[in-house]
Symmetry: C2
Subunit: 405 residues, 2 copies
């Protein structure tokens, strides 16, 4: 059997091509049935596409060819039969209704993005078989654009005033310089990093271990509200889902994968933040740690990472940007001048951005011609550029914002 559809489109879908609605629905169903990060499900979808994967998951048995390949491939101790049966069992749950999930999303302002959508951050492909099947989003910012230049800031919930101060300052300085902050929305370092980022101009991304409509912790209702207005809240779990211990850990791989690098601000020797750090290293993302007083346990995890050579010691936003900004082709221009968020746009989007006038305004058709793209592409790019803060709609069409991110 040949794979039926490409699993990881390297680029956002060309203009006009949309993810078929039945594929989206199938993925929404599979997100209910398989655990987030289930690598067998990841490979099954890569093998035969979400529709046929759903068929097998529903009936609780794998196609013999896939099962054989899987058994061959990994000599897994996991019982494949049992796994497939667990998918089917979840399908039997009356809550597991993807149409209802999508309807609830529409009702509460949340959207489900899947691979192939323009807003899908393709760096999640680095998670390979463990990539999310889809992501629920709630917020005004475009996730893909927000994450083009983003840094994860993570750390202990039981942060000290020192850690909170450092996380807030790093968050705000990164944001002021056009870097989005990705974090987990938790107490302590996470919240300080988001708050700092909100003080700058760049969107901030909170990846939760519960539904995007669930406020955990409760005390962050206001914070999440502001993040929805100036950034985006994301989750692999359907609306209404509650967080579990496992989900926090599984969620961490997404925080690491979305960003160019992870900064651990404060972490004791056994801390969830070190789990995110391990993901970042495994994904070849830059791993950074902030030093602190050696008299406090809250920095012991950071110092261990530095001593082991796993993390680079960073003491300022400048040092973070120097590191994360220097991947591949970005090296030379960044040494010469300031970091520009637009450096991270893909070719098509950059051409559309260059076609937008600084004064007056131009209609999408004019911009499409000038950029050499189709009208649909132009509209898609303009929408994305607007939500990332590069352009704004004016009575005469579109123009550049005076102070881009």
């Amino acid at each position: 059997m040949e794979p039926m559809e490409p699993m990881h489109p390297g680029d956002p879908s060309p203009s006009g091509t949309r993810v078929p609605e039945d594929h989206r629905l199938a993925r929404a169903a599979l997100m209910r049935m398989a655990e987030a990060g289930d690598r067998v499900m990841g490979r099954l979808i890569a093998w035969c596409g979400p529709l046929r994967a759903l068929e097998q998951a529903r009936r609780g048995s794998l196609d013999p060819e896939f099962a054989a390949a899987e058994a061959e491939r990994t000599r897994r101790r996991i019982d494949l039969t049992q796994l497939a049966e667990s998918w089917a069992a979840r399908h039997a749950d009356p809550d597991a209704d993807p149409e209802a999930d999508l309807a609830a999303g529409r009702e509460r302002g949340a959207r489900l993005i899947v691979p192939g959508d323009a807003e899908w951050p393709t760096q999640l492909d680095d998670l390979d078989d463990a990539a999310p099947l889809g992501l629920w989003l709630n917020g005004r910012a475009n996730l893909r654009l927000s994450c083009l230049r983003s840094v994860a800031i993570v750390g202990a919930r039981a942060a000290t005033p020192y850690g909170v101060q450092v996380a807030a300052q790093l968050g705000s300085e990164l944001s002021i310089r056009g870097w989005s902050v990705v974090s987990g929305g938790a107490y302590g370092i996470d919240a300080a990093a988001h708050r700092g980022a909100l003080a700058g101009g760049a969107p901030t991304v909170a990846a939760l271990a519960c539904g995007v409509d669930v406020c955990y912790p409760r005390a962050h209702e206001d914070l999440f509200g502001v993040i929805r207005s100036h950034g985006v809240i994301i989750s692999e779990w359907p609306l209404g889902s509650h967080p579990t211990r496992t989900r926090f850990l599984v969620r961490n791989r997404v925080i690491a994968a979305l960003s160019r690098g992870t900064v651990v601000v404060q972490a004791a020797l056994r801390s969830g933040a070190l789990n995110t750090a391990t993901h970042a290293s495994g994904l070849n993302r830059h791993l950074m740690a902030v030093p602190g007083p050696i008299t406090a346990e809250t920095s012991e995890g950071c110092h261990a990472l530095i001593r082991q050579g796993k993390a680079v010691c960073v003491t300022s936003a400048d040092e973070v940007i120097e590191l994360v900004g220097s991947i591949g082709g970005d090296l030379a221009p960044e040494r010469r001048g300031p970091v520009l968020p637009r450096d991270g746009l893909n070719d098509e989007t950059r051409r559309v951005l260059e076609a937008v006038p600084a004064r007056g305004g131009a209609g999408p058709a004019v911009i499409a011609v000038s950029a050499g793209v189709g009208l649909t592409t132009a509209l898609e790019c303009l929408g994305a550029l607007a939500s990332a803060g590069f352009v704004e709609a004016v009575p005469r069409g579109w123009r550049l914002r005076r102070q881009p991110p």
Copy 2:
């Protein structure tokens, strides 16, 4: 012309061989005439010995052959004639009387040690041409034995309470585990490190930029008194000398060279402690830095060293010992068990130590026979072992101390 005497005896003088008194006197005179660290003087003594070096320094002109070799060797911008004349000019100073220096030393309990003396720490040879010509010592500890397993702790005078706490704790933990602490006797980190070390059992070494009888800073009179009783104060400058800015910097090379590694506890970006750090790196000693809050300038120098990969980030005495204890042959035994100060003794001294009984006591003659060394050597080694705390004198001779360092 052939060099007349070996410059850097690799081992302490064999028993019975003493540095000739006229050589000691000549070095005392040369220490008055040449600046500490004067590399030309270092090479001159290596070339023709201290007696002929003194002749040339007194008359203010170099032997043509040495001058030619020197000019050839370095294409120096320093005017050699002018340098030799400056030596002669200092000789004319009525204060520059080496016999008076030695007499003053005897009177005030200070001793001058020179290369070839049993107490000379041969690791100073690593300073090559810039090695001290001699060292004035005041204190009960044996300098060579004290420094066999020693760590330099340095840092800012304007230390914060955090830095003081860390320096004192490191000093005391190192001392308790048999590692001597070498520092500069200054306010702040230095003083805290010495005080911590005094709380342990190992001797502490203060290298001053003034005479060993001069109390700088004044407030450290009590501290220096205790260091003299439980450690040793050392200096390249004769009694009565006052500190100058240059002398502090020149002195730093001795702190770095005496110890197996240097720990920078707190240092701003421009700090004298970083000068010691540079010496330590240049001498292939381990360089370590303690991290601290990134919100304080006092740790910026430490973080810079860590970020540049020049210093290893250390957060405890264990980590320091792991690093400095792992040189060459020490590697294997130390990984298997605790660090023993006796590991650092030379063969002869170790044999003498092994011949000392744990109970009762034995006379030096018996010990000498048992150790297979001459009586003079046995006496010399026993004196050294006693001042390092390995053995003690009892009515029936010598025996092992119950709690060696």
